[in-house]
């Protein structure tokens, strides 16, 4: 499709212009940035701590302890296998972050170079890349995840990879539109006049100047990936038991709604906190990288 309008990108996030004035003033970080970073920090710390310690082993079942309401021994209660919900929520943050990191990582590693290439080599190659991108755009991440689940077996890895591939177009677009803007600047002409190779220009001028937009896109897609993983786990196509996953905990808690509500509250809150954190972080970063927006928020 001819959606090369350098209007909003695939995820619809309005593309901020390259950060020509990024370092302008060390403005105080916005409230969104602070809250977002704190929430993500919280999730990250919990994930790190859970690597070495959780109150109980999140995978060990204790038949005698099943379905206990929150207490001093089990702050968030226990599930139907007698597992500690707090431990499971803590350990679940690992999967959440992992899925986010890998999915976004794949999208960045593939999408950004493609986007830069398409932006720097307009003409056949660039056209070809963007056409391919448009085709990929027709396969949303969730669809890929479901189909890949069939092909390679459902699971965390499949979900991460599918979601990652599904977000490549978003990154390629952002990178391309940023690159197009950077390529129009005089400092790129100056670098050319100074006999710098295209590769050096990409590395030294394009990449640093579009990094702001990429970072914003990363945090947005991180949130999307977390939600998508939860949805997939809800469908039974995401993280497989016994590995704790927030989406699956939520799905399993369904049958206890009305009698053991705490089972739904803990993972539901965890998902909301993580996604909210990434979204706020994204908004905050956007404000920071796009000084135009700053005065208005």
């Amino acid at each position: 499709m001819t959606t090369h309008l350098d209007a909003p990108d695939a995820t619809g996030v309005p593309v901020p212009p390259p950060t020509t004035t990024a370092r302008r003033k060390r403005a105080r970080p916005g409230i969104q940035l602070i809250i977002g970073a704190s929430l993500i920090g919280l999730v990250a710390i919990v994930a790190l701590v859970s690597l070495v310690w959780t109150p109980y082993d999140p995978e060990t079942t204790v038949a005698a302890d099943r379905l206990q309401f929150p207490s001093a021994a089990h702050w968030f209660g226990t599930d139907r296998f007698g597992r500690d919900v707090l431990s499971a929520v803590m350990a679940g943050s690992q999967i959440t972050l992992l899925v986010g990191f890998i999915a976004v990582g794949i999208a960045v590693v593939v999408g950004v170079p493609l986007g830069i290439l398409a932006g720097m080599r307009q003409g056949r190659l660039g056209d070809l890349i963007m056409r391919g991108n448009d085709i990929l755009l027709a396969f949303p991440g969730l669809l890929l995840a479901i189909v890949f689940g069939a092909v390679f077996g459902a699971g965390t890895v499949t979900a991460m990879v599918a979601l990652g591939i599904g977000s490549i177009p978003a990154f390629a677009r952002v990178a391309r539109s940023g690159t197009l803007q950077v390529m129009k600047t005089d400092y790129v002409f100056a670098a050319r006049a100074a006999n710098r190779s295209e590769f050096r220009i990409a590395l030294r001028h394009v990449l640093p100047n579009i990094s702001g937009m990429i970072v914003v896109q990363c945090s947005v897609n991180f949130g999307i990936a977390v939600l998508a993983e939860a949805g997939l786990s809800f469908l039974g196509l995401g993280t497989m038991p016994p590995t704790p996953s927030w989406g699956r905990m939520l799905q399993e808690s369904q049958q206890f709604l009305g009698s053991y509500d705490y089972l739904a509250i803990a993972p539901g809150l965890a998902i909301a906190v993580a996604v909210l954190g990434f979204n706020l972080l994204g908004d905050g970063l956007r404000d920071r990288f796009d000084p135009k927006m700053r005065s208005n928020r």
């Binding site: 038949a63 139907r80 296998f81 077996g153 038991p241 049958q255 009305g258 009698s259």
Partner: protein
Amino acid sequence: SAGSSSGGSDTPSDAIVIGLTGEPVNLDFTTTSGAAIPQVVMNNVYEGLVTIDQEGELQPQLAESWEVSEDGTVYDFALHDEVTFSDGEDFTAADAVFSIERVQSDAWLNGTKSKMDVVASAEAVSDTELRVTLSRPSNAWLFDMGTYVGAMFSETGVDDLATTPIGTGPYTVESFVSGDRITLAGRDDYWGEEPDITDVTLRYFADAVASTNALRSGDIDMVYNMQAPDLMGQFESDDAFQVIEGTSNGEILLSMNNRVAPFDDVRVRQAVMYAIDRQAVIDAAWAGYGTEIGAMVPPTDPYYEDLTDMYPYDPEKARELLAEAGAEDLSITFDVPTRPYATAVSEIVVSQLAEVGIDASIQSSEFPAVWLDKVFTQADYQMSVILAVEARDVLATFNNPDYYIGYDNSKIADQVIAADSGTPEEYVSGMQEVVRTISEDAASDVLFLFPNLVVADADLDGIAANAVTESLILSGLTWSD
């Protein structure tokens, strides 16, 4: 909806909406496997010469009566007169011959066709007299005729089995909205006693919670074969509903691949048997619903014997056996099909195995496709867990070395033939011996008998809660007021 309190809508008392899980992909069980199809159509749309009642006993259906020859190979059936198919054709002995021969023909693709192998010939003596000759005596055959293998088809009504099944039963399929519902309508011209409820809607839910939500909000009147036992508690304490724990034919089988290490060693298999606390599995995985049966024979089968004491929970013994087999610190993979019961069971089993030093790592296998391909067809697995729903399947499971369990049947093969060909008494004792042998060899661990959990509006009567065959019998249902 009918009779239910909270829904508020007042459907007439000849209607019912039943919630089920596991939608049939089509209605043709002759070419498509899976219990969901016979669940709907057997006894409701199709009938057999005989049927299996709620206690697991054979009862006459289209056959008024039958006589078996002295040597047990010739069956003379006297058929009901005035029976018509839903397309208006009369049911005659010729149709029965056609139906039996069809199972043996290429038209019938479903694997269960082997159950008809024993039939040498079938002939229509008159319109109401049918003679079936077996190549050898078989105690199992007549029972099998009560399952969908024995369904009676009309010679003229087999063109579109997938969507338009034509049988002699009290109902016809009115519509099939895939992904949502099947509606059945009572026949005016049914040969037997017409059912009270003539307007039956079967709604399919991918998820047990959704079905109970529908029940609570009055959308449906009954949830049959509920897959979320933890929800039962809420209904037990509610007077508007009745909760029934029926039995079934389904055994939760912890299958071990007898052909590959470490389970090619009988001691390791026995160690697993001792390592599992089956009651704890039932309690945690299935909220206490389910029955320990000790072997792959449900109490409704004639040759049932209580073998639950054979392998009591004894982790110490398990560790000893493992040590003896030189298999301490065992690491195995555990292929778990993506079914609620399987994931629930596997989490407990893994925990219990860990206690005796077996480190089982769960590997999810999508069900049915991946599980069937990998575990079942290629037998590329070490341990798995599956609900075996077919009736009298102990022999199908263990009396075949090529089966995915890979149990060496050399000890039982002859016993089996002998038992099947013997008198009913010899059949029972012979089979009990076979089952004991299988258990001693710890071919696999039957964790428990799967309950058929039913929750229904308190005013609903006549619920056939025992799933002795796959069939869900609708004709007895009635509203109490």
